[in-house]
Symmetry: C2
Subunit: 383 residues, 2 copies
């Protein structure tokens, strides 16, 4: 007897991405409504230590907010504070703590985990939520430019393992994303700036208008004006959401166009022991792959100059010593391996137009690195 049954189905996902302010004011109902499952939702908060330090009033605000909306949801335990940044993804104990909390406090699949913090903390908490009971509802409250316009609106989570970024993780859409722009006010300059690189990235590969808007607003953004930053975040988040919905949300193919500039970025972060922040690494990664695109004859020198110029005028470094040396090339293979299948790298053929290639020339990469070093030296002299 031989027989084949072809199984086939689709799983629909929907989630709101809310842009707001003062979300813990008692009068602001967005969060309480999200956490109301009709029977008094149980909610467990996990907070990034960086956010808790900058906002010492936050834990009390959460409790006061919960008390004011007690008919909609209840806190099932004290909020848990975990280290901000890659530390939360590098040491598995924080992931394990969140998983253990779901057991200790009986947090079930119709309860909520609310993660407040930067992208790294949201990734770690998201992974714990995704595998406990095969998926507890996750409300992400991203607090950085990077997480508000990029990572937190997406469908991934993860922790680092074996020295590799995001080695363990799943694709798991959040229950909701709630952005509070006020968190941006207290970011240090590096974190304010960092997230802008993902907007430059998505603009460069998809949307010339958006790139030109960033060029025009670069000095206002560098001067920490809120109005253009809010516009940048919403526009960038929308492009990411459209991209995810448009094709292959769970990346079953080999292509990952939104990873323009990311192969080198991931490796640089690791080589610098995460002293370089993700957005900073992405800015250099974009500069590197744009320079490579120019050296390959795919974009013109004046196009390259505009890219380098906008990155530099936002205050990003263009070069870091970890870019030199053979170790960088390992990043290419690791990038291929993580995605699986064929090496697929996004380059540029115009401002606003990306093109995927399947090999990179090591000599040209080295030449691009040298060129970045020179750009950086020129900038230092110019300033």
């Amino acid at each position: 007897m031989k027989r084949v049954i072809e199984q086939s189905f689709s799983v629909p996902y929907t989630y709101p991405v809310i842009f707001s302010e003062n979300i813990f004011d008692a009068a602001e109902e967005s969060l309480a409504k999200l956490l109301d499952n009709g029977k008094g939702g149980k909610a467990y908060f996990v907070v990034d230590s960086g956010v808790a330090d900058t906002h010492p009033e936050l834990i009390d605000q959460i409790k006061t907010y919960a008390a004011a909306h007690a008919s909609k949801f209840k806190l099932c335990a004290e909020p848990l504070i975990v280290p901000g940044g890659e530390a939360s993804k590098n040491d598995p104990q924080f992931y394990e703590k969140v998983v253990e909390a779901t057991h200790l406090y009986g947090i079930d699949r119709h309860s909520y985990i609310v993660a407040i913090g930067g992208g790294a903390v949201l990734d770690m908490v998201g992974f714990a939520a995704a595998v406990s009971h095969r998926g507890i509802r996750l409300v992400r409250i991203p607090t950085t430019v990077l997480s508000q316009n990029d990572s937190a609106v997406g469908v991934k989570n993860g922790i680092n393992s074996f020295g590799k970024k995001n080695y363990l993780g799943t694709f798991a859409p959040p229950y909701a994303v709630l952005n509070d722009f006020n968190f941006l006010l207290t970011l240090d300059d590096r974190d304010w700036r960092s997230g802008i690189s993902e907007a430059i990235k998505v603009a460069l590969i998809k949307d010339l208008d958006f790139f030109e808007w960033i060029e025009a607003n670069a000095s206002a953004l560098a001067a920490r004006e809120m109005a253009p930053m809010q516009e940048l975040i919403v526009r960038c988040a929308q492009m990411h959401l459209d991209h995810i919905a448009g094709r292959d949300p769970f990346e079953m193919g080999s292509s990952r166009p939104l990873d323009f500039g990311h192969w080198a970025a991931h490796k640089m972060e690791h080589l610098s022991k995460y002293q370089i922040r993700h957005g900073e690494a992405v800015a250099m990664g974009i500069a590197l792959d744009s320079t490579y695109s120019f050296l390959k004859g795919m974009i013109t020198e004046s196009e390259l100059d505009r890219i380098i110029s906008v990155i530099a005028s936002l205050g990003f470094q263009l070069y870091h010593e970890v870019l030199s040396g053979e170790m960088l090339f390992k990043g290419l293979e690791e990038f291929r391996e993580h995605l699986g299948g064929q090496l697929t790298i996004m380059l540029l053929t115009k401002l606003g137009v990306g093109q995927e290639v399947h090999e990179m020339d090591q000599t040209l990469i080295l030449a691009a690195v040298e060129k970045l070093k020179a750009f950086q030296a020129d900038r230092l002299i110019a300033n």
Copy 2:
């Protein structure tokens, strides 16, 4: 500024469920074709120790098969043997070993992990595959009746944690399922029988015809005839596949109709320290919830007799001492918690027709347990 973007998309899944024999004969191409990703797929095999013990030739067969199909795929390491049964899910070291192997052997998202064994081993390997690189292709080769007709065709994986079954896991459809009926020939009687309980279950809640077919074939099945067993497996697998595709594949609601008889079964397995096998526990769980349905006035005594009769004539026990005592009730709360939301238990209103309820009466449960004890005593006297 306040704004809401509603994200919405669907993720499509397809996978073949193949029923076959002699899958490691060089002439049988099914497996080699599955593992051919066009560039010589990398495959890593994980084998249930129970299967490796009963089939000492298997590891060599795998190697010979790989050599014969070297143009399609290659083994990236020696097959890994892991303990069969719940041991593989109770001790996290086996899950960690599989995850580590993906790192050591560079197994990427376009490579394959092939898991050969019973449902527990497939669950454990499936979880490791699902979280490494956010999902490596998993080919399941189930070797028991239970896994061929039920668990392996589905979309779940998991390991046990905090003393709770499947506490950690994901929803992750396999890349393919390849059943080889020959593995059934070497099952011990308990494992041969165990899987039949899932067929009784799905028949009782959905399909009177199928239930009557099982009644008619009970003695042939008990006598280990292969033809009716193959028919039972394909029919039961098809019903499970249809159910999954039909509604809520990833169980975002509170309802889980296929878990008829399972709330007590999960608890019994745990209370017996996994001395009772899953299928045996399910048989008793079905007997319990059918008896409860009768005591509740939902089915007639003659309907209950037919159910008890078919279960007993297949050689299942109807009662075990772990059913007595207060601990059983904890199973109800744990079942609710694992699924989340409201307690939802499937009962029967007719043979072939299930109905969900949202509460269970503890006094009636105790009365049902007593009745099962009496049924069991009657059977022992009758034999």
